[in-house]
Point group: C2
Chain length 152, copies 2
């Protein structure tokens, strides 16, 4: 069968995604180091700055992460005094995540990060928006199909 083009690394959308996501994430390192947080902690905070007081379950749906990843991550952020985790009195199975004052305050310092990172790429705002849209579409598409029949 010779050289199967279908199996070439540079023909794989999955590898382009995998490599690109990691390289772009690395751009955030220097800025996040200043705040003392990791990239995953950063996106978790982004979600919370947008909507606070949410159950772990909902946060997981938003971030596409499960409790196996979120539980230790949220405990870490709690130990850093950026948020609190309390059982929901209405439903003791659920844990509600709430930002502390420190957690909310960090938003001010994070506000400049997106611009700083954009400046390190040659993409125009339009190109960024377009690419982002395509990725969101694909993510939703893939996620929906892998949850066929599920409700999450």
């Amino acid at each position: 069968m010779e050289n199967n083009a279908l199996l070439e690394l540079d023909n794989q959308l999955c590898f382009a995604l995998y490599a690109c996501a990691r390289e772009v994430t690395k751009l955030y390192r220097p800025f996040l180091d200043e705040l003392g947080i990791t990239y995953t902690q950063y996106v978790t905070l982004l979600a919370l700055w947008e909507k606070d007081e949410v159950p772990v379950k909902e946060l997981g749906r938003r971030l596409y992460l499960d409790s196996g990843t979120l539980t230790p991550l949220l405990k870490k952020l709690e130990s850093m005094k950026l948020l609190r985790r309390d059982r929901d009195p209405q439903d003791e199975r659920s844990v509600i995540v709430r930002l502390t004052d420190d957690g909310r305050a960090l938003k001010e310092r994070a506000a400049v990060i997106p611009e700083r990172v954009f400046c390190q790429t040659s993409l125009s705002p339009e190109e960024i928006a377009s690419l982002r849209g395509q990725l969101q579409q694909l993510t939703a598409d893939v996620h929906t199909r892998s949850c066929e029949g599920s409700r999450d």
Copy 2:
């Protein structure tokens, strides 16, 4: 400062990438399970099926991975008899990775995977190629800038 649109999760290209890469990777699970390999092992094999007998360093450049990730991964693949790792007699610092017969044979079984995965998306081949191209461009762009002055 109210609702800062710049910090909204859905406005972040980085999060779109991060989420999409993980969701797409999950599509490979069932197929890779049949081969008994993980996703990272799969892309490593893709690189080796394309070009065998390469130093770890070169493989790392190709995959955007460093020895901290590759060393244990390659040892695992070696323990699975899919490849061998030998010091380069010309330069004992370097380790050359070579597929075994088993490793080469696995390519046949992997050949159907890309098509199978594509079928689970609603993207046309043209859309896939376009998206892939944009991601490769961005990856190269970002990587080049973060290596400013470096030679790798």
